[in-house]
């Protein structure tokens, strides 16, 4: 990269920094004092990365115990979230998510988790860094033929930039852990028990009211 390009990017960065600093000053003067009952609504969209399936059981001759590929494509994910402050640091709420990804033969996996969510908020204005965990159920379906309702845990962390008092935009990394447990008493054998592991990376728009 030549000197002119470096100068150009430094100039652009300086302009942006000046602008942000101006906004930081504005935010600091307002302060962010959240109280019990304050609410927020968040819309997220992004990518779901299938990580791996894990199982303690072998299912001969198809597969062994241990870690296995999901064989899924990178998926799309979206979520709607509502939460409310119970004090200035902790929020409780609920979240409805949805994802899709494709199998090697074009079958579509859908998962729709419905979770209760708790978050603890660290702050360095105009940024906020909540860590959170959702717990609930996920409706899972593939190919229009198989359906299951499974437990899901979604721990994660976010980085949120406050545009103003009402609006904020953020980036989220959320781990999806879905234990698909079969006891063997139904039609599905116990050996088909597997733990699904996915990573959600999303951008969000948040509205506080």
């Amino acid at each position: 990269m030549n000197f002119k390009k470096i100068t150009f990017f430094c100039l652009i960065f300086s302009i942006l920094t000046i602008n942000i600093n101006a906004q930081i000053g504005d935010f600091d003067s307002h302060g962010f004092n959240y109280a019990r009952g304050d609410q927020m609504f968040t819309v997220r969209a992004g990518i779901l990365w299938p990580l791996f399936f894990a199982t303690p059981f072998s299912a001969p001759p198809d597969r062994s115990a241990g870690i296995h590929s999901t064989n899924l494509s990178i998926g799309g994910v979206g979520a709607l979230e509502w939460s409310s402050y119970i004090n200035s640091r902790v929020t409780l709420g609920g979240e409805l998510s949805g994802m899709f990804a494709f199998s090697p033969n074009g079958r579509v996996l859908y998962m729709i988790p419905l979770t209760f969510k708790a978050a603890y908020w660290f702050r360095r204005y105009p940024f906020e860094f909540p860590i959170h965990c959702g717990v609930g159920v996920s409706l899972n379906s593939i190919g229009g033929d198989s359906f299951s309702l499974d437990f899901i845990v979604k721990p994660g962390a976010s980085a949120i930039w406050n545009f103003n008092h009402e609006w904020a935009f953020g980036f989220h990394a959320v781990y999806w852990w879905i234990p698909q447990i079969y006891t063997g008493r139904g039609r599905v054998p116990r050996e088909h028990t597997m733990f699904g592991n996915f990573l959600e990376t999303t951008f969000s728009a948040m509205f506080r009211f």
């Binding site: 198809d62 597969r63 090697p104 359906f147 437990f151 698909q180």
Partner: protein
Amino acid sequence: MKIRYIFLIFIFFVMFSCNESDMGIFHGLSVEERIPDGTLPRNLTIGSMLRAGTNLYIAAGDVWRKAGAADWERIPSPLGGGFHLSTSMATDGTDIFAVYFHRNTAETALFRLDAGDIWTEINIVSAVEGSIQEVKSANNTIFVSRRVSANEGRLYYLNGAAFNHINIPMVGSSFNVIHDGTDFWISNRNRIFSGAAPGTVSDAHSLHGRNTIRGLAAHGGNIFFTYWDGSRRSYIRYITSAGSPGTYSTSQIFMLNNIRFINISGYYFLLCGTGGRGYFQSEQQFNPSPEHLIRINRPRGNTLVARNYSSAVELHTAAILDFFIDGTGPGGSPMPDDTFYALTATRGLWRNFDTGGGREWRRE
């Protein structure tokens, strides 16, 4: 105390988990492999299939031919492409016939495939007007149906060089025909006809008028058929060659299509395609009774497919219109270790064969 409540909530969700299928979703994904493409388009709807010598043919919009071990090739449509859609074809052991629909007028016509892949239109001289609908064959005899009106049809068979009318009352133009080694059996709507010659068939069995017979097959001296009762239930039933009724299968909520028999390593299976839910098969039996054969189930990764699980999953949700048994012996009896094909709607043609290390489905 709080930990106990959290634990109870966890247990509740685990106990609440359920699955309507017979396979774990994640497990199925973990063992899924990409099904290799064949030389035919993946999305074909296969109306019918036949073997003529060393060549295989399918009617799937276009007519396709597989000569020996060569790839499938498309045979040009007749009359410069004006007739472009073929959904049925049949052979009398010498000639190949196909029904084509015209691209613009929806007119239909019967064609014969002559040397050089030239289609020659065959006229069925008849006092009754109507459009040609289906061509099928049994015991090297060609049968053609013609729709006369919305609810009335006519059936003809090729007798030498001329098509003769078969004097049976037809509702609509859809029919099935088989030969059990002795007699011809023809089904139309809720009735079955039989006779030693096509021109002499007469009533053999009839169901209630609300039923529609979907498929017909002969095995072990009995005639098996599938039918739909008009209220979302399908059945398999059999009658003896003398026309005596046998027992019914349990009803299925899926639309059952045509019915076929195969022989794998000396074991007889009944196969029956469904509308959108793969196929049913009878359990493995060495010398099965008819009651055993109509006791069908819908396995995923079934006993015919020791390998290639992904293909079985793909077929599990397909609409299978029919099976073509490539090796059926005289009288329609299954041959040992049949290679057979699944004719699907919009999911192409699939072959089930012995790879030497087990049987598997492969997309053609």
